[in-house]
């Protein structure tokens, strides 16, 4: 996914609209990000984030509510998380509630420790 996004970003001068968005590590957004399609965040976001597929990459920092159908977290999230499918990578740190249908927490004991999160399974999600 990041490779695809990087290729799209490089070819970004092309006139056709893209379906994948990415926020680089050099960028900060204070405000609301709402839409559909795929979104990969390497940078900082302070505010609500809503999209179909969200990847919060390692090193990324989000403060705010995150809602997605499919959500992969490798970075830091402070806020409530709502997603049908949630995957926490070994580098993920979540401070907040996770509402999900399926939840995958990747890795060893060490990664379990870093992926500290309050997890609530919700049968009726979505």
């Amino acid at each position: 996914m990041p490779e695809e996004i990087r290729r799209l970003a490089r070819d970004g001068n092309a006139s056709q609209p893209e379906t994948a968005s990415s926020i680089s590590s050099g960028l900060s957004i204070v405000g609301k990000i709402i839409g559909h399609g795929a979104l990969t965040i390497f940078g900082h976001v302070e505010g609500e984030v809503r999209a179909s597929t969200i990847v919060i990459a390692g090193g990324a920092q989000i403060e705010g509510k995150v809602s997605a159908e499919e959500l992969t977290i490798g970075g830091y999230v402070k806020g409530t998380v709502h997603a049908n499918r949630v995957k926490l990578n070994s580098t993920a740190v979540v401070e907040g509630d996770i509402f999900h249908r399926t939840l995958v927490i990747e890795g060893s004991d060490a990664s379990m420790k870093s992926a500290r999160a309050i997890v609530r399974w919700n049968r009726n999600f979505g």
């Binding site: 990041p2 490779e3 996004i5 990087r6 290729r7 799209l8 970003a9 490089r10 070819d11 970004g12 001068n13 006139s15 609209p17 893209e18 379906t19 994948a20 968005s21 990415s22 926020i23 680089s24 590590s25 050099g26 960028l27 900060s28 957004i29 204070v30 405000g31 609301k32 990000i33 709402i34 839409g35 559909h36 399609g37 795929a38 979104l39 390497f42 940078g43 900082h44 505010g47 999209a51 990459a57 390692g58 090193g59």
Partner: protein, 164 residues
């Protein structure tokens, strides 16, 4: 990897053409996926209400309501933007309502600007629409906008050329 990179660089310097560009693009695509990249893009399906600040390249295909600061900004065709833009290099092919500050400004044929442009160089293509005032400035990204970027933004603002 290092060897491949050196090869590409060499071919790029020998013949700067489509093939070399393609090679560089391929190299970038095959590059280390874990390394964060400097280019950002906001797709047509996305809306952002708020402030976007930082460095690197930013391409907007979607909707942005708020201030944008980055090194290189492209407002692509179909994009809608309301707010001020501060950039070193700015290309507009979409619709922008706001004041633009950039060293190099290029209004593409599909670009629409409602607002003033402060620039060092300005290019307007045929069929572009521009309603507003344009003013040339040796430092279009002036100290005032720098102070604003430092004061309000998080982290490093756009990289600026030294005041001459």
């Amino acid at each position: 990897m290092v060897f491949a990179k050196a090869k590409v660089d060499e071919s790029h310097s020998v013949q700067v053409g489509a093939s070399a560009q393609e090679a560089i693009r391929r190299l970038t695509r095959d590059g280390d996926a874990s390394q964060p990249q400097e280019a950002s893009s906001i797709s047509s399906g996305l809306s952002i209400v708020g402030k976007i600040t930082g460095h690197g390249a930013l391409t907007i295909f979607g909707h942005v309501d708020g201030e944008v600061r980055a090194s290189s900004v492209v407002i692509a065709k179909g994009a809608q933007m309301v707010g001020d833009i501060v950039a070193e290099e700015l290309t507009i092919n979409g619709h922008v309502k706001g004041t633009l500050h950039a060293n190099r400004v290029r209004l593409g044929g599909t670009g629409v600007v409602e607002g003033d442009i402060f620039h060092r160089t300005l290019a307007i293509e045929e069929n572009a629409r521009f309603e507003g005032m344009s003013r040339r400035n040796e430092n279009a990204i002036d100290m005032q906008s720098l102070a604003q970027a430092n004061g309000k933004g998080n982290g490093t603002p756009v990289s600026l050329n030294p005041v001459s």
